[in-house]
């Protein structure tokens, strides 16, 4: 420290400060020596072939969950099953049949980011994994 | 009572708790008559060798300060920051949540926002930030910093002597910030430039010289007790004969000198004498008074830590000289905070004495193992528990008693149940005041920490209002007519306070009530109490 004065109750204070610093710096030592780049996503051939998703990639990245929520509302509450995107293209509003049709590799697409960001969506509570492949 | 003191009904209508239009830093202090105590007599300051003795008048513009007073305060502040972690922490961590604001009896009673504990402390903090913190130096007022000026100094003096160091705010502070600590250190700083009040400085000088605050010299001290001895003989027919400065006694007794000098404390003093005589006759109890250490109270505590130590030192010095086994302490408030939290640290170790043991019951007072000093309420409670006192409680039947927890024994010690146990065993009509005004929530008498002078009567009446209001409640509800307490300042302050706010209530010490009930060996039939008033049941009506 700046001045060299004696510390009183040094044992307790230093112990407290060490605990404090350990807790505060937890993220630094917890991840020591690890590199944690964002996961690589794999696109299925179908997805690659489609070139664009329902919305532009950046919008999908940040807001896909909101789109899905709105879709659910439209379908379940309003009985409306058709979505028209900005460029006028029509889609059936269905997670299983539209989204997972292209992205049939949930574990290499959905899960990678969800796991990375510690998100556990309740979508999969009802919509089973890769329904197309299994059914 | 002071002539210009407004009537109670008028005073209460003056109180409002509105805040001024101007910010507190922009509201200069107005030192108002009735709200402050006279400046210290230079002779008293000189006698104990404290600096910058001079005569000065708070009402005058010029306080005749030493030229470098700002430097003295700055250095003094720095020194105390180095000495007291409490000061550093209490200066740094207040968040101004306001929980303390309406806990202060002076704020409740005056409505003056600078009597909110948080602002009282801010008076010092603002200067601390300016002088000792980076944020204060960089940001100034935004961070609540301001320079030490003459106006600020006057504010310090006025408001640090409107705090009775009762610690009620500290109970409620989420960080335990204790305004008493801030006031104690603030007053210590003021003393560095000779700013004290006479009601503190003169008792300190007296105590230093004669052993007690009232300046009673040894022969006169003995005279007073001789006089009580005669009174007791008239009332009970028993000669109690106290002993003084006696070497080889088992126990030394020290109580505040207020009890020797002023009613109603004198009755408590008579109570002690009767109790000791009773114990001597019955059990061979061996105790001595001292004229040298004839003061339990310690107005040095209201001056500086050093002065407190200098006055307190007499207790152990006298105990050592007389060769007693332990010390019994009488009923006093701040005396007990000093004994409980300071004495051993300042003037110990008291290894020339023994761990206190009651010679009558054999009880070991383990909680006083190191200081070797026992509170009379602890001692009495133990005696009563072991059925060692013959009591005729009917003698107190004319009294409806409530108990005031004195601030210091309550919040600086925790002496709460011992006096209650004693009271409930010596009188049959005991009523508690509302729960939020007793025990650790107790309200100050309004005159503690050296503020029980005559010239600040309005301040005292304001500060004592919350306590008086609670007494009035039990007076109206249960017909309470006696306010019992274990503090000599209480006994000096309450009579005026009660007369002003609740005129039908009298004030007593604990031991007076014990002595009223105590059946003395060989006593004659008692028809009057220690005050010379008819005992209940003996009245012809």
């Amino acid at each position: 420290m700046a001045n060299h004065k004696k510390m009183y109750d040094k044992r307790e204070v230093v112990a407290g400060l060490v605990i404090f610093v350990l807790i505060i710096t937890f993220p630094f030592w917890y991840n020591l020596g690890k590199a944690a780049p964002a996961p690589e996503l794999e696109l299925t051939p179908t997805a690659k072939a489609a070139k664009t998703c329902v919305l532009p990639k950046e919008e999908m990245k940040a807001g896909h969950m909101q789109l899905l929520d709105i879709w659910r509302e439209k379908v379940v509450r309003e009985g409306n099953r058709i979505y028209v995107n900005k460029s006028g293209k029509e889609f059936t509003m269905s997670l299983s049949n539209t989204c997972l049709d292209c992205h049939s590799n949930k574990d290499k697409f959905c899960d990678r980011c969800h796991d990375y960001a510690s998100v556990s969506p309740y979508c999969w509570d009802c919509h089973v994994d890769n329904p197309k492949e299994e059914k | 009572m002071a002539d210009d003191l407004p009537k109670a009904e008028a005073l209460i209508t003056q109180i409002d708790h509105k805040v001024p239009q101007t910010g507190w830093m922009d509201t200069p202090v107005t030192i108002r008559k009735g709200m402050y105590c006279y400046a210290s007599n230079p002779k008293s300051v000189e006698y104990v060798g404290l600096p910058h003795a001079r005569s000065w008048n708070p009402l005058e513009e010029d306080w005749k300060l030493p030229e470098n007073w700002q430097e003295i305060i700055y250095q003094g502040f720095r020194e105390r920051l180095d000495r007291f972690r409490s000061l550093k922490i209490f200066m740094d961590i207040c968040v101004r949540c306001g929980a303390c604001a309406d806990k202060c009896h002076f704020f409740i009673g005056t409505g003056d926002p600078k009597n909110m504990p948080v602002l009282r402390a801010e008076l010092l903090r603002s200067v601390y930030r300016n002088d000792f913190t980076l944020a204060g130096k960089l940001l100034g007022r935004v961070a609540g910093a301001r320079e030490m000026t003459l106006d600020v100094l006057k504010e310090w003096w006025y408001y640090l002597f409107q705090c009775t160091e009762c610690r009620r705010c500290s109970v409620f502070c989420p960080y335990g910030i204790d305004t008493a600590e801030i006031t104690i250190i603030g007053r210590e700083l003021l003393n560095l430039i000779g700013l004290n009040i006479d009601w503190i400085a003169t008792p300190v000088a007296n105590c230093y010289r004669t052993g007690n605050h009232l300046g009673i010299q040894p022969h006169a001290f003995k005279d007073m007790l001789d006089f009580f001895q005669e009174d007791i003989e008239d009332i009970t027919g028993v000669d109690v004969e106290p002993s003084f400065n006696r070497k080889g006694a088992d126990i030394l007794f020290i109580t505040p000198s207020g009890d020797v000098f002023a009613d109603p404390g004198t009755y408590t003093c008579m109570g002690y004498m009767m109790l000791f005589h009773y114990l001597k006759e019955r059990y061979g109890f061996d105790i001595t008074w001292s004229t040298y250490a004839s003061e339990g109270g310690n107005f040095g505590f209201f001056t500086s830590h050093e002065t407190m130590k200098r006055l307190n030192a007499k207790m152990y010095a006298e105990a050592k000289r007389l060769g007693v086994k332990w010390i019994l302490g009488g009923e006093c408030g701040h005396m007990w905070r000093v004994i409980n939290q300071y004495m051993d640290t300042m003037n110990g170790p008291a290894d020339f004495m023994e761990e206190p043991v009651s010679p009558i019951t054999g009880t070991v007072f383990e909680n006083a193992r190191s200081t070797k000093m026992v509170h009379i309420a602890e001692f009495l409670a133990d005696l009563i528990k072991h059925d060692k006192l013959e009591l005729d409680v009917s003698r107190n039947d004319n009294l409806k008693v409530t108990f005031h927890d004195s601030c210091n024994p309550a919040r600086g010690m925790g002496l709460l149940d011992e006096p209650r146990y004693v009271l409930q065993n010596v009188c049959r009509h005991f009523y508690e005041m509302p729960a939020n005004t007793i025990r650790e929530n107790t309200f100050c008498c309004g005159g503690g920490a050296g503020l029980n002078a005559g010239e600040d009567m309005e301040l005292r009446m304001c500060g004592g209002l919350p306590r008086a209001n609670a007494v009035r409640h039990v007076h109206e509800k249960h017909g309470v007519n006696m306010l019992a307490c274990v503090c000599a300042i209480d006994r000096a302050v309450f009579p005026a306070l009660m007369e002003y706010w609740v005129p039908e209530v009298d004030v007593t010490g604990l031991t007076e009530l014990v002595a009223n009930a105590l059946i003395m060996p060989g006593e004659k039939e008692r028809d009057i109490d220690l005050r010379g008033e008819s005992l209940s049941g003996t009245e012809e009506e």
Binding site: N3, S118 | R96, Y175, Y208, R369, P434
Partner: protein, 346 residues
């Protein structure tokens, strides 16, 4: 308008503009994303430790606990072992209750003057409730954010997130969609508690009177943090994976500032300012409460001797000096003396 809180509000708005313009217009991603956060974290840790060490460099000369209950004295009188602990175990529990549950604040009583008639002191729980909700929710929010700073994310953090989002609030219209991602209660409680604390500071005359600009500033700043966080989670959606890649880069010392929206940088800048401001402000009550001598000491100073390291000898009026002054009078009154009068007049 009150200049004290206007000042702080304007300061926070300025900070917002600095970060927003700095990123959106000037493109200073590295400054706001890397340099300032590192600096702030450094200042926080070093400043905090420095402050605590500064405190610890002063001793606690006397044991001055505030005793809020019965002392330990006679064996048959029950001591209040938590409010007036005589042993260290009691002190630990007292401190725990103080720090974690704000026990002293819980006692809060509000005084009512009742026009000078019977005063009343009623239990005032709102300040306690507001404070505890604020501190607990803020703590939860901070812990939750560790998901951005750990890979893999520890299981207990995932549980915390589950618990925090147990309430499934869903609300969908053509314009507003709430429900996915799941609502975290802590963020909303934090904001609500902050607004309560802010309003009471503005509206309760006495509290307002004792407040400085420096008391409003952290409130506005943390409100800014909460609002920008809530915006990013529910409304102005940001690429969360990109952000995690960035935050992981920060804690593994390979930082790469992402070109995401300015609102993220505002959030980050506010947090940085809070961290850097912390050690120099009243926010240090976090560290100070552990060291408060009226709470962290046992009331046993009559039983155990406590040593004051700077205790120094003082001048006292000795018995000898006293007897010398009063000897004659003492002898006359029949009081015992150490030395008799000498024949030649003493």
């Amino acid at each position: 308008m009150n200049s004290k809180y206007m000042f702080s509000l304007v300061m926070v708005i300025l900070l917002f503009l600095i970060a927003y313009i700095g990123v959106e217009v000037a493109g200073l991603y590295r400054l706001f994303g890397i340099f300032i956060p590192y600096l702030a974290a450094f200042v926080f840790v070093v400043g905090f430790v420095y402050r605590v060490v500064y405190w610890a460099q002063s001793p606690v000369p006397f044991r001055i606990p505030t005793t809020c209950g019965q002392q330990r004295s006679l064996p048959w009188i029950r001591p209040a072992s938590l409010d007036n602990p005589s042993e260290n175990s009691g002190v630990v529990i007292r401190m725990f209750l103080e720090i974690v549950f704000f026990r002293s604040l819980f006692r809060n009583l509000r005084f009512n003057f009742n026009k000078g008639q019977k005063f009343s002191y009623e239990w005032e729980k709102w300040l306690w409730l507001g404070s505890i909700l604020f501190h607990w929710s803020f703590f939860t929010v901070v812990i939750r954010h560790l998901r951005f700073f750990t890979e893999p994310v520890p299981l207990c953090l995932q549980w915390l997130e589950k618990a925090d989002s147990f309430l499934r609030l869903e609300f969908v219209t053509d314009f507003v969609q709430i429900g996915l991602p799941g609502i975290f209660m802590s963020g909303l409680v934090l904001l609500a508690a902050l607004i309560y604390l802010l309003l009471r500071r503005m509206w309760i005359p006495q509290v307002n009177y004792v407040s400085f600009a420096a008391d409003f500033f952290p409130l506005f700043l943390i409100i800014g943090i909460a609002v920008s966080g809530i915006l990013m989670r529910y409304f102005a959606k940001t690429d969360i994976v990109g952000i995690k890649e960035f935050t992981m880069g920060l804690v593994t010392f390979h930082p790469k500032a992402p070109e995401v929206s300015g609102i993220f940088y505002v959030h980050l800048f506010f947090v940085s300012v809070l961290l850097a401001y912390f050690p120099f402000s009243k926010l240090m009550h976090f560290g100070g409460v552990f060291l408060s001598p009226t709470r962290n000491l046992a009331n046993n100073s009559r039983a155990e001797r406590h040593v004051n390291p700077w205790n120094y000898p003082v001048k006292i009026h000795t018995y000898e000096a006293y007897e010398d002054e009063f000897r004659e009078k003492m002898i006359e009154a029949g009081l015992p003396v150490e030395k008799e009068l000498t024949t030649n007049g003493g």
